[in-house]
């Protein structure tokens, strides 16, 4: 049978009842990438190594506590909740550490302008924008990065962060609004 057709709940049951390691491997295969992306959206660009570490920790924790998973919630919501909390905890610990590749550099690289003065201005705006993103509440940062950086749609983000689609739309809307206000306070009008 095609493993893709097996439901998560059946894989969880197979692991719990028969200690089926293949079922656990299949769960890892399904969720490793979204868990990594969710962690990365919270930690930010330049923290890929840390996001991967979070993903490892999440699967170790899932492996350890799958026995006690009661199935009241969907497996996906459960694992994403663990990933979210793990990433937030790690972010608290690495808050003052510079990313391996600064977001400022990324912003400067992204400048589409051609003449040096415009490039400089554009890089400055981008840098300010990225700094403002970092000051937003974690959930807004995550939604913005999932949407603008990873190109995810609202439905996909909603499933990852465990909220309804309308809430994601509202997060994105409010995040843009806050960014606009923050940039205005910094005296940057043309973004």
């Amino acid at each position: 049978m095609d493993p893709n057709l097996v439901l998560d709940s059946d894989l969880v049951a197979a692991y719990r009842e028969r200690d089926d390691q293949q079922a656990f491997t299949e769960l890892v295969r399904r969720y490793r990438e979204p868990v990594f992306r969710l962690a990365l959206s919270i930690l930010g660009p330049g923290f890929a190594g840390e996001a991967e570490e979070v993903a490892q920790e999440v699967f170790l924790r899932v492996h350890h506590s799958l026995e006690s998973f009661r199935g009241d919630a969907q497996f996906s919501s459960w694992i994403y909740r663990i990933a979210f909390n793990q990433a937030i905890n790690l972010k608290e610990r690495v808050r003052y550490r510079a990313p391996h590749l600064s977001e400022q550099m990324l912003a400067a690289k992204a400048s589409p302008a051609t003449d040096p003065l415009s490039q400089l201005e554009s890089a400055r705006s981008n840098r300010a924008l990225i700094e403002c993103v970092d000051e937003l509440p974690e959930i807004y940062q995550s939604a913005l990065r999932l949407h603008y950086w990873m190109g995810m749609g609202v439905a996909e983000i909603a499933s990852l962060i465990g909220v309804p689609e309308n809430t994601v739309k509202s997060y994105l809307h409010r995040a843009r609004q806050r960014l606009h206000e923050m940039l205005k306070e910094r005296g940057i009008r043309d973004v």
């Binding site: 699967f59 690289k109 973004v191």
Partner: protein, 99 residues
């Protein structure tokens, strides 16, 4: 905030996040597999470990029966904190329990 300003921020965000999204390293599964099974002892290994600890304890008591009490106290004062620190270090490197 006007519709135009919303669009401006939207465009600026798209321009700011152009760095390619990193992917998981190719050996993610191998590393996970290694970590999943690193702390697991079979029942035979657990029994062997228990027997070893018991034998080591009896052997140590027999070996130090004639050592002066002062030397025993010094040895205890050095080795107990050292082994505690080492064990703590090992535990901290493992995943923390469910929060």
């Amino acid at each position: 905030m006007s519709e135009r300003e919303h669009e401006q921020i939207d465009r600026a965000l798209r321009e700011a996040f152009t760095e390619p999204v990193p992917r998981l390293s190719a050996d993610f599964d191998r590393k996970l597999e290694k970590r999943l099974h690193s702390g697991r002892l079979s029942s035979g290994a657990r029994l062997a470990l228990t027997l070893y600890v018991f034998a080591a304890l009896v052997g140590t008591i027999w070996a130090v029966r004639s050592v002066p009490l002062l030397w025993l106290a010094v040895g205890f004062a050095v080795l107990v904190p050292a082994s505690f620190a080492w064990a703590l270090h090992r535990v901290e490197r493992r995943p923390s329990p469910e929060s």
